[in-house]
Each structure stands twice: as structure tokens, then as C-alpha cells.
């Protein structure tokens, strides 16, 4: 007569499964990808008329191959860039159609939340870089310019709605702020393609 077969002890099975579980928990990187989101402009049509923009409406930022900055025709520094950009884009009085001589012009935009028509700055930040510029510098510049816009938006949002722009949840309000302070960063067409 055969001996009764002992049941295999399955108690340690749980431990083995736990080990596997912990292994997976540790090895899978749950890193959240973060970055600066930008929208590229569509390719220009074959014959594009040159759009004339007045000198006073452009804030020129040039980065050369040595990672040196030129802001509005003068040498600049990354630590000052944000304040300069903020000063250029700032628009303290939305209802005033006139702006000082050295500031960009304004245009009329209809934002119902701010009581109808308001005057929004026409200022455009023009960013141009060399093919030899390092990516790090490029990102720093992009970051400073984005920071300038977001700080201005925060200030306006604080003023109008009493909370920071990033904390706003109402889509209407977000749209209104975005309209009042547009993120106008234009990247110049790279001048030479080819010839590395």
C-alpha cells in the first residue's frame, strides 16, 4: 500500500511572491517625465511676405556659440534676463491704450472677464541662437523667458482673482489671463542649414 503523499507546504509561496513583488516595485522607475513644453510653428509657405514688426515691439535675445547673451543690442547676463523680459512685457494698466515711448505698443483685445475691451501689449520676444550654442544655455534662456511670462501671469492673477495662475482651475479665468499676457516667444528661422 502506498504511503499517503504529503501535501507540499505552500506557506512559503507567499514569501516568494512577495520577493518578486518587491523586486518589481524597486526596479520599475516611476520617474515622472518633466520638461518645457513648446509648440513649433508650422513650416512657412513658399513665398512668405515679410511681416513688419516695429522695433519697439521686439525684445531681441541672441545667444552666440560661446553661450554669451546679447539682449536688445547690449551684452546681457542670464541672471538679469528674467527681469528685463518682465519689464519689457509688463503692462501695469490694462485700460490705458498708450504706453511709454520705450515700451511696446498695445492692441485691443476683448476679454469679457476683465470687463470687455482691454489693451494688451504687442511685445514679442525674439530668440535667436547659433548652431554652436549649447543646449544647456538654450534651455536656461527658454526657462528664464518662460519664468518672466509666468510671473507676470501670477501677478495679474493675484490682482484679479486672488490666487496664483497655476492654482486657477476655472478654464474661463485661465483663458482670460492667457489672453491678457500672451506667451509671445518667437524663435527666429535658423539662418543657415547645412555646412556643419
Amino acid at each position: 500500500m502506498a504511503r499517503p503523499i504529503n501535501e507540499i507546504n505552500a506557506g512559503s509561496m507567499a514569501d516568494i511572491a512577495f520577493l518578486l513583488l518587491i523586486f518589481f516595485l524597486v526596479t520599475t522607475t516611476m520617474d515622472i517625465d518633466t520638461g518645457i513644453t513648446r509648440k513649433l510653428p508650422p513650416p512657412p509657405p513658399e513665398e512668405m511676405p515679410d511681416i513688419k514688426v516695429k522695433e519697439r515691439n521686439i525684445f531681441k535675445v541672441l545667444v552666440n556659440s560661446r553661450d554669451r547673451l546679447m539682449v536688445e543690442g547690449k551684452g546681457g547676463h542670464i541672471s538679469l534676463l528674467k527681469e528685463q523680459a518682465k519689464a519689457f512685457l509688463s503692462n501695469p494698466n490694462l485700460l490705458d491704450p498708450n504706453s511709454p515711448e520705450d515700451m511696446p505698443e498695445k492692441r485691443l483685445v476683448n476679454i469679457p472677464l476683465f470687463g470687455g475691451d482691454v489693451w494688451v501689449t504687442k511685445g514679442i520676444i525674439s530668440l535667436k541662437n547659433d548652431r554652436g550654442t549649447s543646449y544647456d544655455m538654450y534651455i536656461q534662456v527658454q526657462n528664464e523667458l518662460a519664468a518672466a511670462v509666468s510671473e507676470l501671469r501670477d501677478e495679474l492673477s493675484m490682482d484679479k482673482f486672488g490666487m496664483k495662475f497655476s492654482k486657477l482651475s476655472d478654464n474661463e479665468k485661465i483663458k482670460a489671463i492667457q489672453k491678457a499676457i500672451p506667451m509671445a516667444i518667437s524663435e527666429a528661422e535658423p539662418e543657415d542649414i547645412g555646412g556643419r
Partner: protein
């Protein structure tokens, strides 16, 4: 019958733990399925630049990655190269890459496709500009410069 009764006694039987492994396995499978392991093996060295104005990348399934950086294998030189999927590529391969990515996604999701540029900070802008121009040509307008979040220093 008497024999058995003697052995059994009056002990309460222990709770069966036989189903415990199954529960744990279920947890395990859940984690295995939900965590995305789709990341390609990176052939280039990438140390992302830092920035303060970062946004989270939403909908990871709709993001395609382009890696640009110096090859890990130093025999291939120190110049930055482009990597698509699992191999080195050229600027002109991006067109096909984007097309394939677009094809593999659901029709309704296609406008939301984002291209994430994972670029080493030492890279020169020339190659990045070429890639951006190519992306413009194929109509992949939404891009994301992958950066690490830097703590904001209070002044």
C-alpha cells in the same frame, strides 16, 4: 473511526494560507502590467539640463521620444548622435519615425501626440535645430524639452 477521533482532538483548524500566494500574485501582475517598461535602451549619454518652469508630461502613451547625445560607446566618437527607438539614426529618418508613431496610435489621439526631446546638455544647438525643422516639416508641432526640475532658490 475511533482511531481518527483520537488524533483529531478538539483543536480548531488553522486558517488556510493557501490562497495568500494567489493574492500576492495578483498584486504582482497588477504592478507588472501598469508600470510601463516601454523605455528603449538608451545608447547615448543624456544628462538633462535643469529648469524651474517645468510641466509634467501627460499621457505617456502619446509621447514619442527622440534622444540626442554623445554615444555611450566611446568608439563611436564624442559627437552628439540622434537615437530613435533602439538605434542610431539620421535627421532624415525622423520623418519615417514620426509617421510610424502616428500610425500606431488611435485616430482620435493623433492630434495630441507629443515628441519629447531628451537632449544632453552638452549638445550643440545645430543638431537640435535640424531635428526641430524636420519635426515642423512632418507636422509634429507639440514638443517637450525634457528637463529636470530645479528647486527654486528664494532670493
Amino acid at each position: 473511526m475511533a482511531k481518527f477521533r483520537k488524533k483529531g482532538g478538539k483543536k480548531t483548524p488553522g486558517i488556510s494560507t493557501a490562497s495568500l500566494p494567489d493574492i500576492i500574485f495578483m498584486l504582482l501582475f497588477f504592478f507588472m502590467v501598469t508600470t510601463t517598461m516601454r523605455e528603449a535602451t538608451v545608447l547615448v549619454r543624456i544628462s538633462a539640463p535643469e529648469a524651474t518652469q517645468v510641466q509634467k508630461l501627460e499621457k505617456k502613451s502619446l509621447v514619442s521620444f527622440i534622444y540626442i547625445g554623445p554615444p555611450l560607446n566611446t568608439k563611436l566618437g564624442t559627437d552628439s548622435r540622434i537615437q530613435l527607438n533602439d538605434m542610431f539614426a539620421d535627421v532624415k529618418d525622423i520623418r519615417e519615425f514620426v509617421q510610424l508613431e502616428r500610425e500606431s496610435k488611435d485616430e482620435a489621439d493623433r492630434p495630441f501626440l507629443t515628441t519629447s526631446l531628451k537632449v544632453d546638455k552638452e549638445t550643440r544647438m545645430g543638431i537640435v535645430t535640424d531635428v526641430k525643422q524636420e519635426l515642423r516639416q512632418v507636422g509634429a508641432f507639440k514638443i517637450n524639452y525634457s528637463t529636470k526640475k530645479k528647486a527654486i532658490v528664494q532670493k
